[in-house]
Symmetry: C2
Amino acid sequence: MTWQLALQLGTSDQPLFERIAIAIATDIERGRLRVGTRLASSRTLAQQLGVNRNTVVAAYEELCAQGWIAIEATRGAFVTNTPIAKSALAGADGSSTLGYPEHPGFELPADALDVETLTGRPPGSLVLLGGVPELRGAPRLALARAYRAALCGAGARRLLDYASPHGHIKLRTALAHLLSHVRGVAAPVAAVTVVRGSQQGLYLASRALLRPGDLVAVEQLGFRPAWRALELAGATLVPIPVDRDGLDIDALEAAYATRPIRAVYTTPHHQYPSTVTLSTERRTRLLSFARRHRVIVFEDDYDFEYHYEGRPVLPLAAADRAGVVIYFGTLSKTLAPGLRIGYVVAPPAVAQQLVAYRRVVDTQGDAVLEHAVATLLEDGEVQRHTRRALALYRRRRDALCEALQRRLPQLDVPAPRGGMAVWASAPGIDTDAWVKRGVAAGVLFQAGSRVRFDRQPDPHLRLGFAACNESELVEAVDRMVRALP
Amino acid sequence: MTWQLALQLGTSDQPLFERIAIAIATDIERGRLRVGTRLASSRTLAQQLGVNRNTVVAAYEELCAQGWIAIEATRGAFVTNTPIAKSALAGADGSSTLGYPEHPGFELPADALDVETLTGRPPGSLVLLGGVPELRGAPRLALARAYRAALCGAGARRLLDYASPHGHIKLRTALAHLLSHVRGVAAPVAAVTVVRGSQQGLYLASRALLRPGDLVAVEQLGFRPAWRALELAGATLVPIPVDRDGLDIDALEAAYATRPIRAVYTTPHHQYPSTVTLSTERRTRLLSFARRHRVIVFEDDYDFEYHYEGRPVLPLAAADRAGVVIYFGTLSKTLAPGLRIGYVVAPPAVAQQLVAYRRVVDTQGDAVLEHAVATLLEDGEVQRHTRRALALYRRRRDALCEALQRRLPQLDVPAPRGGMAVWASAPGIDTDAWVKRGVAAGVLFQAGSRVRFDRQPDPHLRLGFAACNESELVEAVDRMVRALP
């Protein structure tokens, strides 16, 4: 890789060759030119700078004499940075603070945002993190082909250009089809917006619909980045208990009676992190509550497909006739999280506002990728992959539960009806210490404290089973046993 | 594409086959099942529902008798939707509001966000919009190859997984190299964050560094979505005049004397939209002002490479030793806007806060794409493409200026030293009317009012020359002549 030199020659009255030499030496001292880097030939640099070639030759000779560079017949001039007399080349202002500034030259806000960053994954670790799917079988070749077809096809120029912040029409159509035929949500294309994962969907919907001071009910156990999205829009969160039937609607109604809430954020299909499904009776009551009080329901349905006992329960959005549900889906679990394809289903007037914020937040999506993913949906590639994953995950769920029961009988391990993780309870065990010791033992999992609204210690563990095969799961449980505090 | 039916069979005391028939008819009425759609075979549906096949056969026969579906020997059952007796299948609650809700069932915020959406581009239009690059020569095949190599290579599983919100290390390294060697910014990799275009970079930096009530100075002529990003973080904008030497530093200092400002957002290299370059004297004064008052400088350098007279002027960030400059760049102009690859260069402590917000806003970038684009940078593909584009754009700039001088002598058309657009003045002409009439005549361009802070009518035009070849530019000017109000 050869780059043009970026020299500021200044306007001092030194001879030109000296100014060139100083500029290059400064670049070396600042680290812009690294040891071993080849300089441009004197002919090339002279052309670039619009100076006589002899001037550059003189500058190079000066630099060579002072030890900054070496000149060899075969390699030309290259950086050595062993200067004999650095001071001879010091800047006119005697500046010694060359290089990139280490610290900001202004005050940082006092209220730094506190979000969990990605857990480092030491090499060789077995990953029992709840939301990570199996990626070894992802349809990578089909995606690469579809990507190339999109990029080199007749419409490629438009795909590479500025485009609609609603997402590519081909993907919106394929998603509308999927929503209608598999999830019972008969949304028109105008109601479907493609976003970069359900996290962005929730962020944009929050910005579009919430205002500072709005109260938003959330499940007392949940996903902290989602809560942060609501808070960044100014919402004040009201935690509501969750039990074996999901969100406690009595508690929700009691909270509303105290002070009207603007919205509820919920994961009814497989409650995050406990994986319980909201009961039919509560679903009906929640929708009726929302319709009656004109409360927004943010329904996050991040892993609809992975249901093992009977058929998936249709989303709240499928039964919503009042227009209170904003529905979030993602291809992170069925295709791959790294591609960042999610979608929001909302009445068109809401979708319009959502994309107005999207225009400011990231302009638009990646239409080439959206086109390619639409092809995978149209061809049934995603659906086939999901069906294979469903069968795989059912076996892995069983394998993990069995290994846990066998090796860690002190845990209570209910087999989840759906989802990608087990929500086990470990009474009397310091789960936070266990997780920490697990990292050292080569197994990554989560303690209940991480998903509790109040961050208190919690005797639960969330153990994902999707990303490991059956023998890896057995090994992971062995490592958990070794890591027991 | 074949999808599972999503039926909610309910729990009434009707015979099962009738409940299945009602569920299917309801789906047809709601538009979830469209005319011509093939239903699953009775065997498949029976398996899916866990019922006897004869039950499904009876349901299909009922639907056929009522005209909802037809059954043909070769095609099987498919939707016709010509029911004889819709009432016979009405829902138990007599509901007639089937389908997706048209309107939200809650109040929308009164302060809807007002952003310009993408201008529709009628087919056959010639595009003289300032920021649109030539995409016909984009290195699409090289990108498709690099994408496939990333997706099908050894590290693909990690690329598809959850990842660092800083961006892929390979692309951050390639960008650090580019910044150091071409732009004189000796930033370490820790200072470089990959984002989805400079718009997202500015949005995230604003969220990370600004707080409600902060004053931010902006150029009186500028890019409205950038201003919105600052405002969404709570900033109050203070417009500062721009003249032929760029941002007016006297006016900036006067504004500061009235009330301290927190930050300045500026486009010093090619001022948007006027394309003027900030003079050397003002650059020095701006940096000194920022250092003295600990004011943040948001430097948006969206088209560094496209400078036609002499070499590009190095960014403010290259001369910043105090850590006051946050630098935004993009590959939108050198590769393609649709890919949404941009970057932010900031002291590491700032980068940390920026990615904390990024975690909430869109989780992370697309590592597969970032890996592929890094390959194009390492191979020099982007650089070669940019060099070709630079030569192309210089000719196009000259062709547009010449055509304008010949056909529209009433305009004042200074040839820009850099950038992708001409900033022409059209004294005495209603430029807003001209733009509107231009759309009808098949030529798209912008009037000054669109980029003025106060939105007042303005006698300037912004005419992009990058996306059209020379004969298209001549034709575009012909259309402008025909559209003259």
